[in-house]
């Protein structure tokens, strides 16, 4: 049996979730376009993306959200789950970038459905530029 642990008792406000590093590639952007049936050229046609004013093909808003979700899921393991994730894309992330997905616990509270944690999330590129800020709400089992 893959066991769960009691994370709720172990973490305090201010706890920093282990950083997840993601390196989007042309192939990954293509695969994400394919699996989401998103045929918008800005995600896989560099010429089109540049004509549209972007530095290169753009990492999808949804893919960046999935990076945040992976970071939280890796941390929670079988001790909890994501209830809600909010994020906004402030700058374009392109293939070759190294993205650092970071989160900090900013609140713990008891709700009708159980023990809830609030996280403040930031995805930064290798230069430290903010690509996407976000907020996560997690439920501890």
């Amino acid at each position: 049996m893959v066991t769960t642990e009691n994370l709720w008792d172990k973490i305090d406000v201010g706890y920093e979730v282990p950083t997840l590093v993601k390196k989007p590639t042309y192939m990954q952007l293509f695969m994400f376009s394919a699996i989401t049936w998103n045929r918008h050229l800005i995600h896989y046609n560099t010429d089109f993306a540049k004509k549209d004013g972007l530095p290169d093909v753009a990492t999808h808003r949804a893919l960046i959200g999935n990076f945040m979700a992976q970071m939280l899921s890796d941390w929670l393991g079988y001790a909890g789950k994501i209830k809600k994730l909010e994020w906004s894309v402030r700058a374009t992330a392109v293939p070759g970038n190294t993205l650092h997905c970071k989160a900090k616990v900013v609140g713990k509270r008891l709700e009708a459905d159980g023990k809830v944690g609030d996280c403040e999330i930031n995805v930064l590129n290798q230069k430290g530029d903010l690509i996407a800020p976000g907020k996560g709400v997690v439920l501890f089992y």
Binding site: M1, V2, T4, K22, Q28, M31, F32, A34, I35, T36, W37, N38, R39, H40, L41, I42, F48, D52, G53, R61, A62, L63, G65, N66, F67, A69, Q70, L72, S73, D74, Y78, K81, I82, K83, K84, L85, E86, W87, S88, V89, R90, Y141
Partner: protein, 158 residues
């Protein structure tokens, strides 16, 4: 609603519904596309030993079903997904944001009903002119009527 064409306003509230089967292949490929190696998404023998008692999909897996599988010929030349193809006087997509509520886990064999509609369209003045915000709500419900996810995404165009 200054500057928003009446054809665009007419799209607000019009719901489009699609139904899909969730397969282990969809889950596996989605997990590979987001580059998440968690065996919970790939390995049934492993997943059976977890609290989930079998393979489940990643938390934001519903993104695989947000955009309808309409023929390429029905899309705009730049391939913009149909759900965002609101007739506006601008056509360059920039950034955007999302609020994604995660509900019940999805598993291979589930039947997913996807309902999508434009909730709102509004404008704001930007540095380079008017920015158009298109707010799209998508709800994902399984065969038991349980909400698997609800996303409200805001797409910005200029």
């Amino acid at each position: 609603m200054e500057g928003i064409p009446s054809e665009a306003k007419a799209r607000i509230g019009r719901e489009v519904v699609h139904v899909y089967d969730v397969t282990d292949k969809d889950i596996r490929r989605f997990a590979q596309a987001i580059d998440d190696p968690n065996p919970l998404y790939y390995d049934e023998e492993y997943a059976k030993k977890t609290i989930y008692k079998g393979i489940i999909a990643p938390p934001l897996f519903c993104h695989a079903f947000t955009f309808a599988d309409v023929p390429a010929g029905s899309l705009r030349e730049d391939g913009l997904p149909k759900e965002l193809d609101v007739p506006l006087p601008v056509n360059r997509a920039i950034g955007g944001s999302s609020s994604f509520e995660v509900g019940t886990e999805l598993r291979p064999g589930d039947k997913l009903t996807v309902k999508s509609k434009v909730l709102d369209i509004y404008t704001k003045s930007g540095k380079t002119g008017l920015l158009y915000f298109v707010v799209v709500e998508t709800t994902f419900t399984n065969q038991n009527g349980d909400i698997a996810a609800r996303e409200v995404a805001t797409y910005i165009q200029r």
